[in-house]
């Protein structure tokens, strides 16, 4: 029991460290990518002993700056809620990572270790709940600030997030029907199957292409990034955390990146096979043309974790690319897209999926 707990603590620290470092790296990639797209040099001025490493140290400089900035709590705000809001925001985004499986089962001697902090049967529901609870941080920040712009930003953000949560939920129902489980590890294992004589891996994106598109758009809106950054557009629109400074602002900043990574993890897990690699089974590669390469368990796990990480990074990159490519929506366009576009498409997708499952007799 104690041993199992210690192992879980190690896994939890790995997830924790990985996610937070990825968020730090995210800021660097975002700066450099925007610089490349806008034909600038970008962040390259923070040296450590004369080494600049393409501006990789700017994340550290950011952290130091946020720690040492004065924490301004304006006059007349609701002090309790003002302090709690960034906590809520970052806490729920962080805790959601507990249910993401990032690798296959590792065999260490007698012991079998799930590379997932918690293999719970309602994992998808849990992540969905944590994603929804993130709304509280946003609305509380806007409400507690006692700033007219902040409360308007908070209302905008809340309306946007709950609108797209509907489309997100229904897009996920289509996926649930295909896998027949909410356990994300089981869902990833189900994506190891192949169709068309073993040539095409049956990933979620193959089984649910429409669901994937709806999920991606709705999830992007949930993270409040461009082209859905109406709650808080860095240089143009005053948002819900205008009255925050120092580390509390840093918390909101971190939440932004954590949510992006979370959505990338979810998209990978549900639609791009999680840690699966095409043609790789637990005992080795089985290519459709008959070649077989046996693979040891440790190598299988290593390949799986690498595959998962690469896919997540690719999704993060796509999200940032979208950010610097598309212009922002107008608010009525945003609402129309959520309620009149994605929602009906997702519902029809569920019906079509049910029909196809009948034709396949529950085998698909």
């Amino acid at each position: 029991m104690i041993e199992a707990l210690l192992i879980k603590l190690v896994v939890a620290s790995v997830v924790f460290g990985g996610v937070l470092n990825l968020a730090g790296l995210h800021t660097w990639v975002e700066r450099k990518q925007s610089a490349l797209i806008q034909d600038r040099i970008g962040a390259n001025r923070a040296p450590i002993f004369g080494f600049k490493l393409l501006g990789l140290f700017h994340g550290i400089a950011d952290a130091i700056k946020m720690f040492t900035k004065e924490d301004v709590i304006p006059r007349g705000v609701d002090r309790t809620l003002h302090t709690l809001a960034p906590f809520f925001s970052v806490f729920f985004a962080l805790v959601a990572f507990a249910a993401i499986p990032f690798g296959p089962q590792l065999h260490l001697g007698e012991r079998v270790i799930d590379l997932q902090v918690a293999r719970i049967d309602a994992a998808l529901l849990y992540i969905f709940a944590m994603l929804s609870l993130g709304v509280y941080g946003v609305i509380l920040a806007g409400f507690a600030s006692r700033n007219n712009y902040a409360i308007m930003g908070g209302m905008r953000a809340t309306a946007q997030m709950i609108s797209y949560e509907i489309a997100l939920g229904i897009a996920l129902i289509g996926v649930l029907m295909v896998y027949g489980t909410m356990d994300l590890s089981a869902a990833v294992e189900a994506q190891g199957r192949t169709i068309a004589g073993g040539w095409i891996p049956l990933w979620g994106v193959v089984a649910q292409p429409v669901g994937f598109v709806v999920f991606l758009v709705a999830a992007l809106a949930e993270t409040k990034r461009l082209p859905f950054d109406l709650p808080e557009g860095e240089s143009e629109i005053i948002g819900y955390f205008v009255e925050y400074s120092g580390m509390k602002f840093g918390m909101f900043f971190l939440t932004d990146f954590l949510e992006t990574i979370l959505v990338a993890c979810l998209a990978t897990t549900l639609f791009f096979g999680g840690w699966q690699i095409p043609f790789l089974q637990a005992d080795g590669f089985h290519f459709p043309w008959g070649t077989e390469i046996p693979v040891a368990n440790w190598l299988y796990v290593l390949l799986g974790v690498t595959s998962f990480t690469v896919k997540v990074l690719a999704f993060c990159f796509v999200f940032m690319q979208i950010r610097w490519t598309l212009p922002r929506f107008r608010y009525d366009q945003l609402m129309d897209l959520g309620w009149k576009g994605l929602f009906p498409i997702a519902v029809v997708n569920v019906l079509v999926t049910a029909g196809v499952m009948i034709l396949l007799g529950g085998q698909g």
Partner: protein, 177 residues
Amino acid sequence: MYFDYFNVLVFAAVGFVFVFANMIIGSVIRPKRKTEQGREVYECGEETLGETWVKFDIRYYTVALVYVIFAVEIAFLFPWAIVLKESFAGTGAAQGTGIGAFALVEGVLFIVVLFLGLAYVWAKGDLDWVLSYQGGDYAGRSDRSRKLPSVEEIRAAAEAASTEAEETDEGGEEAVA
């Protein structure tokens, strides 16, 4: 399985400690120079006019209301979606019950009701964000969405206006002649 739910708690505790530690470290090393000007609400350098905690636009309330309805319906659809495959294949808990078609019809009926709800809200115009008021009443359904004129329309209107102006100019010249 229940041990795994305990793991969630452990993870949450680690997360809580992380967030809390960040705030504590920050409060130890950051400067505290509170001045009266520094504690003013930022708001783009302007002082806040009027009360902030006021009644806000009804449209946010409508969106929240519609959200609650559909979110509850989705919560009911989740378990249905999970067991649907088993009920078709007649495996697992659905072994020998022959419940497949029944489960499908039930679910589809539920989704159709959900869709009717959406159609109703849509037709009522509660999904339109841009509302316009005429006098004390809501504007009619067709006038609710603000329609921006297309470029062609603007151009045609400008041309019409300029030809009109020319005609009047010519008329003026004739009168002089």
